[in-house]
Subunit: 211 residues, 2 copies
DNA sequence: CATTTTATTGAACATGTTGTTGATTATCGA
DNA sequence: TCGATAATCAACAACATGTTCAATAAAATG
């Protein structure tokens, strides 16, 4: 399953192109970027670009796949029951913290992708990863015979929560990653479990009580 | 403040180009679109395009401005107190319904912009409009001396809620606008006021109770 | 270290897009 | 009907594209 681009030269080239892409996207947005600009900025021969990528979008997508792959792996380690237990103790769930650390490690690229010059399809895929977990959680908490009686359609509930958490991520990056992954994880946990209003701490709420 | 492009010819041209843009963006995404494709699809001379727009992005942005302008006008008619009163009666707030009707009227363009081939900067500006209102609401509900004691930083709270609602919008469009604006407005109201968990209707919650 | 393998370079090519221009035609508003 | 103006058409140089090939540089290997 795993390929070997072990040659240091290709590694160097790809790093340079990735960096150049991030820079140029932050400056102009994806639409205005040309292969010529890209290779000039990266100080790489234009022909070399085509040895690795079909076009600018292909470059972008290959980087995305890399990040999303790792993200998906870490996501698989989430156990919904552990998450709920952590939430009850008002502690950040460790698996979530590790995911946020991954985000932080790729802050340059990820911050770009989630920002105004980013890629909506990337954001949608991130939401998709999240929704799989939320679906589990929901099915876990709600007995099947009651699934149809929700006050809000399940699909909208899931769309709401996943989008909300991506919003938290976006704000984290947009404001320069001032919080630690632990802090952000705690913020997310509180908002999901007790809802935005109750999370002000100013009104009472039943919160997450198991039936 | 208001210009007059009254000539039917320019109106026709702009309509055609807008339609062609939506079609091509849905097919290829913004990056791959060329002025040549655009004018060919719209059956308009290429030179004519440059009489109205600087480039493809300029075309996109002019349409965005139009929509965002109307959106902002309708947004100004929101009164936070009315909104909260409607929420307590579990009814959709009329001003929100009108806004959703505007979205629906421009479904082709708006659905595109909020979707996988859309424009993140547009989405951010929509969130921005929403955040202004949320800021009002928050300041309204919470006495100034308590603003620093929130369990979750205010900025994150706002990012969470605005992003969540845009997520609802996105799901509405992505699933083909099957609900009426009234229904969507009600979904939003419930989710904001009682939080995602309580909105399942399966756990009790204090909900929106004024201090 | 020497050798083989492979990535990168630089130049050239036809092709297509761009943004602009000037002359012409068609359509609009009055 | 008629003057104004928008749309068309053809042509332009400048630039980006995607591909090629020989030459060169730097890797991996024994």
């Amino acid at each position: 399953m795993k390929e070997k681009p072990v040659d240091r030269r290709t590694l160097r080239t790809k790093k340079l192109l990735r960096q150049a892409l991030v820079e140029l996207m932050e400056e102009h947005g994806l639409e205005r970027i040309t292969v010529s600009q890209l290779t000039e900025r990266a100080d790489v021969n234009r022909g070399t670009f085509y040895l690795h990528y079909k076009d600018v979008i292909d470059l972008l997508q290959q980087i995305q796949e890399e990040v999303l792959g790792k993200l998906s792996e870490l996501g698989d380690e989430i156990d919904v029951r552990d998450l709920m237990r952590a939430a009850e103790r008002d502690e950040p769930y460790q698996a979530i913290v590790r995911i946020l650390e991954l985000w932080q490690r790729n802050a340059d690229f990820c911050g770009l992708m989630l920002g105004p010059r980013g890629d909506p399809s990337f954001v949608l895929r991130v939401k998709g990863l999240m929704q799989a977990k939320l679906f589990d959680k929901l099915s876990d908490m709600i007995p099947p015979e009651q699934q149809d009686k929700l006050q809000v359609p399940r699909e909208y509930l899931i769309a709401f929560v996943s989008s909300a958490n991506v919003g938290v991520l976006q704000h984290w990056f947009a404001s320069g990653c001032r919080q630690t992954p632990r802090e952000v994880a705690l913020i997310m946990t509180r908002l999901i479990n007790y809802g935005p209003l109750a999370s002000t701490g100013l009104v009472k709420s039943g919160g997450s009580s198991k039936p």
